[in-house]
């Protein structure tokens, strides 16, 4: 058997002080841009007032930790729900909730933020299935985040 490093979704990696440069770090307290509660996909109601006509983020759990500027660059001005396509159970409920965003809450846009690991693609697949079953079309963007917080892809789907 050859040596290998395991699944990219759970492979051990250490990025600590890899570039030794912290010159661009912000100073002082950074204001949270979260404008709602709850946020976990099983807990949210897709027709809650903060989703009506909103620009919505559907974010894989790990994204907010990897993406340094998550609040300012992505969360600001948007409503959010989070989920893990690898570990969460009963994801058919997620699909129904996404469909309800499209048809009932009449959201303006959906931005799906996922990590680069293959299991995260499951979240995008859920969205695509929900979009196919929805009557209303909504512009949907997919953002793929690298494990070190770099944006690998950002495009409309």
């Amino acid at each position: 058997m050859t040596q290998f490093e395991g699944c990219p979704g759970s492979r051990v990696m250490n990025f600590e002080e890899q570039d030794g440069n912290d010159a661009d770090q912000s100073v002082g307290k950074i204001k949270s841009q979260l404008g709602q509660w709850p946020i976990q996909m099983h807990l949210i109601s897709p027709t809650a007032p903060y989703y009506q006509g909103a620009d919505v983020l559907l974010t894989a759990d790990c994204v907010a930790y990897a993406l340094g500027d998550f609040h300012r660059e992505y969360l600001k001005g948007k409503s959010i729900a989070i989920a893990c396509p690898k570990l969460d159970a009963e994801q058919d409920i997620y699909q129904e909730k996404i469909k309800a965003w499209f048809d009932d809450a009449k959201i303006n846009t959906l931005t799906v933020l996922i990590m680069q690991v293959p299991c995260c693609m499951g979240l995008m697949n859920l969205v695509q299935q929900a979009a196919q079953s929805a009557e209303r079309k909504v512009p949907t963007k997919c953002v793929v985040v690298g494990v070190q917080g770099d944006i690998l892809q950002e495009e409309w789907v």
Binding site: G6, P118, K137, P139, W156
Partner: protein, 263 residues
């Protein structure tokens, strides 16, 4: 084999344990994973194997699943997230780009329309009228109106680029009016000249929009604006009062007609 590409890897390994060892040989370590819901196709794609390695891996997996069959290996669509960013229009802009396709198909047919057209016959007159209807209804009312009444309002309407686009639309309308005037007079030469001038002019106009205006606008629209623009376009399309498919059918029929004439 395609069905296995869309199944979770753990499920596949449980059913065909040999596959764990095969994946190990390509440094794909799904075996110890306690979840294993990743799809086989995603796993193969994300590990960035060479084309040869991917084919070899898939062939070995296929053999493990169907030892007695000669399996054709399906191609796995390459995911784009590991590549540099590719440009894709936002949905409302893409809608406009897609509408250009039908207009360009009409433009491509104009030389044949001009050659074929005999306005002394009812059929010849009707062909010109149908072409003008496509320009006025589809290209102008359906397409240009979305630009002028909705899209341009998201930008500085006094900017040179928007002014130029509006002037282009006005000029295109003038060519169409000239075609209809010539048709009333039965002046075939003027019909041909104006249709050909329209063709040349609109080809350049579409090129400007596809290559300069739309990419620039796309880059300057926020996510919120993209959503609003899309909803406004959907509403405008629903309220237009005719089916755009009618014009696609017209073009298909015309293309077939001229193709047969060439034979």
């Amino acid at each position: 084999m395609n069905e296995y590409l869309n199944r979770g890897i753990k499920e596949i390994i449980t059913e065909f344990p040999e596959i764990e060892g095969i994946l190990n040989d390509y440094e794909i370590g799904c075996g110890p994973c306690s979840v294993g819901t990743c799809l086989l196709k995603d796993i193969v794609t994300i590990h960035r194997l060479t084309e040869g390695q991917e084919q070899e891996l898939m062939a070995r997996i296929a053999k493990a699943i169907h030892p007695d069959k000669d399996i054709k290996i399906p191609e796995i669509e390459k995911r784009t997230e590991v590549k540099p960013k590719e440009f894709r229009y936002a949905p409302p802009i893409k809608k406009l780009v897609d509408e250009h396709v039908l207009i360009k198909r009409w433009i491509a047919l104009i030389p044949q329309v001009v050659d074929y057209c005999d306005v002394k016959t009812e059929e010849g007159r009707q062909l010109i009228l149908d072409g003008v209807d496509l320009i006025r209804s589809y290209a102008d009312k359906f397409h240009h109106a979305k630009e002028e009444d909705i899209l341009f309002k998201y930008f500085d309407e006094n900017s040179d680029i928007i002014k130029v686009m509006r002037e282009d639309h006005t000029r295109a309308r003038a060519y169409v009016k000239a075609v209809l005037d010539a048709l009333d007079r039965g002046d075939e030469t003027a019909i041909s000249e104006n249709l050909m001038a329209y063709r040349e002019f609109l080809t350049e106009h579409i090129k400007k929009e596809d290559e300069i205006l739309y990419p620039w606008m796309d880059n300057n629209l926020s996510t919120t604006q993209v959503g609003k623009l899309y909803s406004q376009f959907e509403k405008a399309d629903k309220e237009i009062g005719f089916s755009p498919e009618k014009y696609e059918h017209f073009i298909i029929k015309l293309e077939e007609k001229f193709k047969q004439k060439e034979k």
